[in-house]
C-alpha cells in the first residue's frame, strides 16, 4: 500500500513533527520508497514463528527497593530550556 498526503499529515501529527505542504509531498515520496523496501517482508510465511524482541533471552532483573539516586535537580534543570523555582515551564494547558 502507499501513503497518501493525508496519511503523511496524520503520521506527522502523531509524531509531533510540523510539516509544511512542500515537505509533505517530499515525505510522501520518500516514505513510500522506504515502505516499498519493507514490503518484501510480506512475501514470507511466518506462521508459527515466535517473534524475537531481543537478541538474547534475558530475564528482567529486579533491584532492592531502596533509594539509590541523590538529588541532582539543579544539575538536571541547568540544561532545561525554561525553568523557574525548580519547575519546568511549558505553555499554559489548563484555562
Amino acid at each position: 500500500m502507499s501513503l497518501s498526503i493525508d496519511d503523511i499529515k496524520r503520521i506527522a501529527h502523531l509524531a509531533r513533527i510540523r510539516v509544511d505542504a512542500e515537505e509533505t509531498a517530499r515525505y510522501q515520496a520518500q516514505l513510500n520508497g522506504i515502505l516499498g523496501l519493507i514490503e518484501q517482508m510480506q512475501a514470507v510465511d511466518t506462521a508459527g514463528i515466535e517473534p524475537m524482541a531481543h537478541a538474547r533471552d534475558v530475564q528482567q532483573r529486579l533491584r532492592e527497593d531502596a533509594v539509590t539516586e541523590t538529588d541532582r535537580r539543579e544539575a538536571f534543570q541547568a540544561v532545561a530550556p525554561q525553568v523557574e523555582a525548580g519547575l519546568y515551564l511549558v505553555p499554559k494547558v489548563i484555562e
Binding site: 503520521i11 502523531l14 509524531a15 510540523r18 517482508m41 538474547r56 538536571f76 540544561v79 525554561q82 511549558v90
Partner: protein, 484 residues
Amino acid sequence: MQHASLKQLATLLADGKTSSVELCQDYLDRIERLNPQLNAFISVDRARTLAEALAADERRARGETGPLLGVPIAHKDIFCAEGWRTTCGSKMLANFVAPYDAHVIERCKAAGMPCLGKTNMDEFAMGSSNETSYFGPVKNPWDKRAVPGGSSGGSAAAVAARMCPAATGTDTGGSIRQPAAMTGITGLKPTYGVVSRYGMIAFASSLDQGGPMAPSAEDCALLMNVLAGFDARDSTSLEREAEDYTRDLNQPLAGLRIGLPKEFFGAELAADVGRAVEAAIAEYRRLGAKTVELSLPNTRLSVPVYYVLAPAEASSNLSRYDGVRYGYRAPEYADLTDMYERTRAEGFGAEVKRRIMIGTYVLSHGYYDAYYLQAQKLRRLIAQDFAEAFRACDVIMGPTAPTTAFDLGAKRADPVQMYLSDIYTIAVNLAGLPGMSVPCGFGDDGRPVGLQIIGDYFSEARMLNVAHQYQLATDWHRRVPGGL
C-alpha cells in the same frame, strides 16, 4: 608517536619515556591542524583533556599501573560525558552539556584514559555516510571527496588520520564496522549486552551496542578489556565473568573453519571489493584455515526488517525530545502541541524525521501486526540462519560493505540506496552477534576495503585472535593516508 599502537604507547608511558600530558598535547596539536580539513571532531576542550592527562600522570606517580593508564581516547558524541557538550550530531542537543557519565565513559576514566574530544557522527546515529550530522559531513582521510561511512564516521576518520590512537563507536546496523571498512581501520561490535548502553544516547535499544575502533585488532582487544562489563543500570546488560580479550591473540589459526555465505558474494558486491576479500580469505588458507561454503538464506530480508524495527524503536526513544527538560526548544509557538511540533520540526534533521515517521506509522493502530510483529518473526529466522551456520564453522567472513567509500552527496537524495550500504552488517545486529571489520586492501579507486568477521555469541576473544593473526601476516592496518 602517532603511529604507535596502544601497547607501544602504554610501554612508553610505563617506562617514563613520555607522559600522558605530552601524548595528549601531541594529539591535540594534530587534531587542531587536521580537523578543519576532516571535521572528525565536534568538540575539543584542550584544558579539560590536559587536566585528565595530568590526573593520569599523577596516578602513575603515586605508583598506580594499568594497561592503558594515560593513553588517550576519543569518544563518539553519542556518549554522555559529564561537563562535555554531548550533541549526538543533532541541533536538538547542540547545547546539551551532559550532567552525568555514560558507563563507557566511567570505565575509560577508571582506566585513566583521557578524552581527546567528542567525534562527529550521523544525527542520532542514523546514517551510513556521516552526512546527516548537524555539524557538517566528515571527510574521508583517504580521499576528501569520499564519505568516511557512518554513523561512527568521525571516530573512524579520527583514527584513520591518527588524530587519536583509538576511539569509541556504536553500532546499530553497521555503524562501527562500515566506517571502519571505509577508512581502513579495525572496529568491533561486541555481542549485544556486553557493553553497557547506560548514558549512550538511545537510537534502537534492542540493537544498539558500543565498541572499540582502532588501527589494529590488538588495540581493540585491549580496549574491550576497558569497555566491557556488567552494569545494572542497563536492563539488557549481561551479567558475566570479566574476560581478558587479549588472552587468545597469539593462538595459531590451524584448523580454523571459516564459513563463506554465498549471499555475501552476490551481484551487489563490487568486483574490486570482492577481489580484496578473496585475497584475504586466501591469506587465511595459507595461515591454516579451512573454508566452508554455506548459506544465510534470510539475509536478503535483513534490510527490510531493520527498517521496521530500528525506526519503530527510534520513534519511541526520540519522543523524549519535546523541548521541556533538555535540548532545543522552538523560539515561537502558540500552545503546547505547537511547541512540540515546532521544536521537533526545527530540532531534528531530515533523516531523523523520516525514520521517526516510518516508526510512528509501523507502530500505529492497525499496522502493528503487518509490520512490527512480522519483522520480529523474521528477526528470529535471521538469527536461526546464523545458529545453523555456526554448526559448520567457527567464524563467518565476507565483505563489510558492498563498495568502497562512495562520494560525498552520491546517495544523499535516495534514502533506500543509502540503506543498502549496510546489507552485510545489519543481520549481525538483528541476531545480536559480535562482528568486526578488518582492513584488507584497497579498491580500484584507492579507497580502503574491510573484511567482515562474524562470530558466535561471546566469541570476541576468538575473533580478535583471528584478526590479529591476519594482521601479523599483512600490513593493511598499518597503512595510513598520505598528505596529512
